[in-house]
Amino acid sequence: MSKMIVPLGPQHPALEEPESFTLMLEGERVAAATVALGYNHRGMEKAAESRTYVQNIYLLERICGICSHSHSTCYVQTVEALAGAEVPKRAQYIRALIGELERIHSHLLWLGIAGHEIGFMTLFMYAWKDREIVMDILEMLTGNRINYGMNMLGGVRRDITPEQGQKVLEALDALEERTEYYKNVILQEQTVAIRTLGVGRLSREDGLRLGATGPVLRAAGVVKDIRKDDPTEVYNELDFKVATDEHADVYGRTVVRVTELMESYHMIRQILRQIPDGPLSVKVPNRIPAGEAAARYEAPRGEDFHYTRSNGTDKPERVKVRAPTLANLAAITHMIDGGFLADVPIVIAAIDPCFSCTDRMVRVKDASSGRDDVWNWDKLRQYSIEWHKKRGQDLGYRI
């Protein structure tokens, strides 16, 4: 059978964000797939080096619009470790509360996207309708629907009143009922079963070998969750189970996410019951002592990693971010291989990709000589002009 190469992206209706997948097709089946990164590079790590620690909270919060609290929490944890600040218990509980509400919002959003990708638009519409409940709660608690701005160095910025806690509990009752309904829909609806069962398989061994993380790995039966393995904040004081599934396909990932929703409701009820009184923050100096620190956080999409190096000034010397999608990207090509072309969008969507979070650094490698060095702006420009000239596109730039 003749082979055909089909590009998917960087701009493609099936992708929410730009990323380039090149698929080699044999009939309807994908024989090989490659992924090219770097279409959404925003230079955030470099920008973080020229901003103060306080300004960076808001910059790094904007790495991702959906798991913004995960990134800002992970970053402030590194700075607090450098400064030796002990975050008050109440602030830790509030951080965990916002973190779990964010997970609910992210997973409900994903459920809608998954419905959209498999052509089950009813699920998409109603999952997003119910997501508004948690968005309203987040807006009430923090002042924003996304990019909550709840973290500060040494604590949180806003307190939670008992009335707000009551409203959260009422919203949780509604959400729990709805999630139970969606769980039944996923388990009993044939549309979901046909489009997801056995699609995008990633076995336990492959998942571990390719470094997958989050619900993708948990759907392959691996019990791995930063909240359990390396508990930060108050997660070691909460009673919860790590949701896993044995299907190891898109169906399994859906089940894991819906089960995680139920666990999050359970955790939020505990948080609101156990939250102690006390101060909201401790003072952290503007100048952070020299040193380096790293932190991990279980974002809705998997393990988020931040590294900060300080040189004793009020600006960090280096900030490094590894978003969960980067860890899952290697697994994508493996999951696409051998599947149908029509299943590619849902397989990509099933890792809950966030490509703009992923693009952190561009490394240019000369394919002919294999040289791998840093290019400055002029050299990059020169290369771009020659690249276009070779293709007969002289843009008339003078060098």
Binding site: Y58, L59, Y126, E139, G143, N147, G149, N184, Q188, Q190
Partner: protein, 115 residues
């Protein structure tokens, strides 16, 4: 056992309910109490320490001296990310967030405002 049309009964139920969306802008949109909207400046409280300028992650606010112990605040609304860090940082409570959020404008110059 799986079957088709699991959400159909729910769809019929929802047909009897009124819509969840509101006809904004003809219907007024409600924002919560502590919403971080456009900034408000109290010139009589400002001492010109410019801490808000220094902490702003977006370089959106500038405090200018107009006379002895009198200051004005100029905010670039197109740059402001409404994080409210300036409000939190101000020791004299000279800045506060309001519930106003309808700031869209077709003219970029009009987004640089003295508040």
């Amino acid at each position: 056992m799986t079957s088709l049309g699991k959400m159909v009964p729910y769809l019929f139920k929802m047909m009897m309910k009124k819509t969840d969306t509101v006809l904004y802008p003809s219907v007024e949109a409600k924002v919560p109490d502590k919403f971080r909207g456009s900034l408000k400046f109290c010139p009589e409280k400002c001492v010109g320490c410019k801490l808000c300028e220094r902490v702003c992650p977006a370089d959106a606010i500038v405090i200018e001296k107009i006379a002895d112990k009198q200051y004005k605040a100029i905010v670039r609304m197109d740059k402001c990310i409404f994080c409210g860090q300036c409000v939190d940082t101000c020791n004299k409570d000279a800045l506060e967030n309001t519930a106003f959020f309808e700031l869209a404008s077709g003219d970029k110059a009009s987004l640089e405002v003295e508040i």
